[in-house]
């Protein structure tokens, strides 16, 4: 069962081949057996999952099943889930049980999905390897010595290992696309404002966006149908009609204009990754697309601008973790300042503290104009680069990451870790959507092709990805541990 895509599982459930309960029990058994090593979940919720599954089976028996009814999903532990531990991968929230559901969680419930549990992640979504989790690193299902990517590393690993057919992730600088690439699955970062942020523990509010992670673009489209749309509780969510994301999946690609940003094929790109990506582009040409080079001239400013804006917002967003009302509180504080200092010093990990410090510094009097203001100006230029490119071409393609998954513990220096996100980070600054699809392997580790479109072009992106998946089978490859029959 765990070999099937979400779309195939939906058909099997509908055909009565097995029930949602049987499917859920099977996955829970796999999690119990395999996840001790993989560590892709922080919290597994078997009782809830089985109750959800039974409810889904009952709904189906009444003839009330929708397209997602009874389909299990894993939820990145950054989404608040009512009555369930919601940790953000941090010791700070190791005891936090959310009293409410995030909009995405609420919508997935309403669509009849089965929640298996909460997936591991880099603490507060800050990281590119999932090594920053207070609950331990996650292993890459393709190679236990490699990282799964981050920050949605648990979500990506769970899907790749066949522990969940789909998962919810969030992407602030590449946190859906890069782990999807590292784990050989498909992950979509929607347009900023397309999916509600209500109930997603904030890292950098102007960049955070939730999206689906699954085996195929078609599966992502199904999930988008459930989660996308305006939410009055999120002022930055856009009041704009939601299309049926599966509707255009059959459209032919003849005449599609593909742009290859020269800046995404420059120094630092692993030649083997480049070769895989160029091969994928050749597949598109064979499908009738035309290809040309374009330039995104401000690309090299994206990482510096991001590491001003994101930490600035994070330093403010994370101020609420002060030991007063919820979360970690130090033992026997001597006074208020001691309570603040020790609660935060003990509760936050290294990388989170680093970003809080950076953000606090860049917002300080005398530095604000030089850093934050300048970064916002750069952000506008970066956005304009993309808008200009989309005047010329329909989509942009390139590698999701300069290398395949690197070894656990390989990146000790934070800056070399930050450079991992060189192709993904500008996308968040511009607010446009992007998808990563499996496009080959380098030394047994998956390579991801990143496809970018203009604002609200998710329908087109998903079809472009889908057509590629009709012509190739990279997305169907399974790591060894997912190929077991039980």
């Amino acid at each position: 069962m765990h070999d099937k895509t979400l779309t195939e599982l939906a058909a099997s459930l509908e055909a009565g081949e097995f029930t949602s309960r049987e499917l859920t029990e099977h996955l829970l058994a796999r999690i119990a057996r395999l996840d001790g090593e993989l560590n892709s979940f922080i919290t597994v919720t078997p009782e809830r999952a089985l109750a959800d599954a039974d409810a889904a089976d009952a709904a189906r028996a009444r003839g009330e099943a929708g397209p997602l009814t009874g389909l299990p999903v894993a939820i990145k532990d950054l989404f608040c889930t009512e009555g369930v531990l919601t940790t953000a991968g941090s010791k700070m929230l190791a005891n936090f049980v959310s009293p409410y559901d995030a909009t995405v969680v609420e919508r997935l419930k309403a669509a009849g999905t089965v929640s298996l549990g909460k997936a591991n992640l880099d603490e507060f979504a800050m990281g590119s390897s999932n090594e920053n989790s207070a609950f331990g690193a996650v292993k890459n299902p393709w190679d236990a010595s490699a990282v799964p990517g981050g920050s949605s590393g648990g979500s990506a690993a769970a899907v790749a290992a066949g522990l969940a057919p789909a998962a919810m992730g969030t992407d602030t600088g590449g946190s859906i696309r890069q782990p999807a690439a590292f784990c050989g699955i498909t992950g979509l970062k929607p347009t900023y404002g397309r999916v509600s942020r209500w109930g997603i523990i904030a890292y950098a509010s102007s960049l955070d966006q939730a999206g689906p992670m699954a085996r195929t673009a078609e599966d992502c489209a199904l999930l988008m149908n459930a989660i996308a749309g305006h939410d009055h509780r999120d002022s930055t969510s856009v009041a704009r009609g939601v299309p049926d994301y599966t509707e255009e999946l059959g459209a032919p690609l003849a005449g599609l204009k593909i742009g290859l940003p020269v800046e995404h094929f420059g120094d630092g790109l692993d030649p083997a990754v480049e070769a895989a990506v160029r091969e994928a582009v050749a597949v598109y040409e064979s499908l009738g697309a035309t290809v040309r080079e374009v330039s995104l001239p401000h690309t090299h400013y994206a990482i510096p601008a991001y590491y001003v804006i994101a930490p600035a917002e994070a330093s403010s967003n994370l101020s609420r973790y002060d030991g007063v009302r919820f979360g970690h509180r130090c033992k026997a504080p001597s006074d208020l300042i001691d309570l603040y200092k020790r609660s935060r010093a003990e509760g936050f990990g290294e990388e989170v503290k680093r970003r809080i410090l950076i953000g606090t510094h860049t917002l300080s009097e005398g530095f604000f104009d030089a850093y934050y203001k300048k970064a916002q100006q750069v952000r506008r230029l970066i956005r304009q680069d993309f808008l200009d490119a989309f005047e010329e071409v329909d989509v942009l393609m390139g590698p999701a990451s300069p290398t395949p998954a690197f070894d656990l513990g390989a990146k000790k220096d934070p800056v070399s870790m930050y450079l991992q996100d060189i192709y993904t980070i500008a996308v968040n600054l511009a607010g446009i959507p992007g998808v990563s699809v499996p496009a080959g392997f380098v030394k047994g580790r998956p390579v991801g092709l990143q496809i970018l479109g203009t604002h609200f072009a998710e329908q087109r992106l998903l079809n472009v990805a889908h057509q590629y998946q009709q012509a190739t089978d990279w997305h169907l490859r399974r790591p060894e541990l997912a190929e077991e029959t039980t």
């Binding site: 989404f79 209500w198 950098a204 330093s315 101020s319 609420r320 002060d322 919820f326 009097e365």
Partner: protein, 489 residues
């Protein structure tokens, strides 16, 4: 040396919205601690603010009322600092692009002169919660602090003046003018005792004639008209004394202690926080289109200045009377109902400012809590105007209504038999009796010079009124007495 005082005020007005500025929780005052704070007010992980449109409309109405510029775009910023009653670790406020631009407020001083005070801007922000230091302890002698977040997220309009005031009296008059505008607009209950209006006062002194401002001290959280005056007076005296003794005023934040009637240093400029303001990424810029602002302008109620002018021009009231009656919306509404009921503005003004205001003052009641309703008072004044009762009896009726003895003036007049006697036969009979009972006074009257007799008639009037238990028509009594006494001369 002669000193000049320079004062600027930051007035925090709690807006009378149903729910909080960024959440759906209620803003009602006085609920059990932490019962009116939802997930957003508590700053739980993952929550997001949604701007309350009512708060925006109220802020814009205030701007229109002070003839301010209303910028097309305003932006919310985060003011970052740690405090236990600040759940998110930042206050959402407006630093760089406030909702209300420069405007002005006219104040009237006790001598009847007026002055314009410029308003620099007004911005929207959320209130913090409250720290409760009293009555918390772990039972082992360790003090504890309780946090009540009911107030967290209550919408505030902070109105920042230019340093245009030159005395404590001007500052108090300005604060009263702001109070009067916000209560007229109905955008705040203006209740200072419950903290609906709070004020930070910036005070400095400089030698008369000097152009530059002196170093200022900011006095925080002054919460009554009287305390504003007292705090300024204390602060001015302190600063002058300090300078004259060779010292220097330091820029600092001070706290006014009403119990000891003094200000005390809280923190100096060096200890001030760096608030790290930046635009709140969870809220979109507020864009106000012209039609929306025009609509709010159209539905603005009559404001204190306009009402005062109308009371003078149309009702013929004196500047002083018009000013007193227009000072609060409740007083003005009460007066207008009395006037409409009795039909005579001047009489209505006399009664409202005389008998009513006196009674309210004695009992310390605001006009909206008056036991005598405007309609009752209007009817009472009407009975004086139509000669049903005389002025003296009217005061008795007022007192009876005040004490709850009767539903209407007519009912009290009937019950107490206060209806004025205008039957000249009855009055003549009483006069004849008084003349017969006062031979000595009659003799004095007769012997007096004719031009002195006018004064002497008072005695006889008094006797007749007494005999009638105050119900005889005094004009009739006067005329008939004169006639009869003069006939004896």
């Amino acid at each position: 040396m002669q000193w000049e005082t320079v004062i600027g005020l930051e007035v925090h007005v709690q807006l009378a919205t149903q729910s909080k500025i960024f959440s759906g929780a209620s803003t009602a005052f006085g609920a059990e601690p932490n019962t009116q704070a939802c997930a957003v007010d508590l700053g739980l992980p993952g929550v997001l603010p949604v701007l309350n449109e009512q708060a925006v409309a109220m802020a814009v109405q205030f701007g229109l009322a002070i003839h301010a510029e209303i910028p097309e775009v305003s932006i919310f910023d985060r003011k970052n600092y740690f405090y236990p009653d600040l759940p998110k670790g930042y206050q959402t406020s407006q630093m760089y692009h406030p909702i209300v631009g420069p405007g002005e407020v006219e104040i009237t001083l006790e001598d009847g002169s007026s002055k314009r005070i410029r308003v620099h801007h007004a911005h929207l922000e959320e209130d913090a919660g409250k720290s409760l230091h009293e009555s918390f302890s772990d039972g082992m002698g360790h003090g504890m602090t309780g946090i009540d977040l009911n107030r967290a997220g209550t919408p505030l309009l902070e109105i920042v003046s230019e340093p245009d005031m030159r005395s404590a009296k001007e500052a108090a008059a300005y604060l009263k003018a702001i109070h009067s505008i916000v209560t007229y607009l109905g955008i705040s209950d203006g209740n200072m005792a419950e903290g609906s209006m709070r004020c930070d006062v910036n005070v400095s002194v400089r030698p008369v004639g000097q152009a530059e401002f002196g170093t200022r001290a900011e006095v925080k959280n002054v919460n009554s008209f009287r305390f504003v005056e007292r705090a300024i007076e204390f602060e001015v005296e302190r600063q002058i004394e300090l300078i004259e003794d060779g010292g220097k005023v330091v820029q600092e934040t001070r706290l006014y202690d009403p119990e000891r009637d003094e200000t005390r240093s809280m923190r100096t400029k060096e200890e001030a926080n760096d608030y790290r303001y930046f635009p709140c990424p969870d809220l979109l810029p507020v864009v106000l289109d012209g039609a929306y602002v025009d609509h709010l302008r159209e539905i603005l109620p009559e404001l204190p200045d306009e009402k005062r002018a109308r009371f003078q021009a149309e009702l013929g009231l004196s500047a002083y009377d018009a000013g007193v009656l227009a000072a609060s919306r409740e007083m003005a509404e009460y007066f207008e109902e009395v006037k409409d009921t009795c039909g005579d503005a001047k009489q209505a003004a006399n009664w409202v400012m005389g008998e009513l205001a006196g009674a309210l003052n004695r009992e310390g009641l605001p006009v909206q809590d008056s036991p005598v309703s405007a309609r009752q008072l209007g009817e009472l004044v009407g009975r004086v105007l139509d000669d049903t009762i005389n002025g003296k009896a009217a005061k008795q009726v007022f007192q009876a209504l005040w004490n709850g003895q009767g539903q209407s003036a007519d009912e009290v007049i009937e019950a107490k038999g206060l209806k004025q006697v205008t039957d000249s036969g009855a009055i003549e009979a009483m006069i004849d009796q008084v003349i017969a009972d006062s031979p000595a006074q009659v003799a004095q009257y007769r012997d007096a010079e004719p031009d002195k007799r006018g004064k002497m008639i008072g005695y006889f009037v008094g006797q007749v009124m007494k005999a009638s238990r105050g119900t005889a028509n005094p004009q009739q009594v006067n005329a008939l007495l004169k006639e009869k006494l003069d006939a004896l001369c």
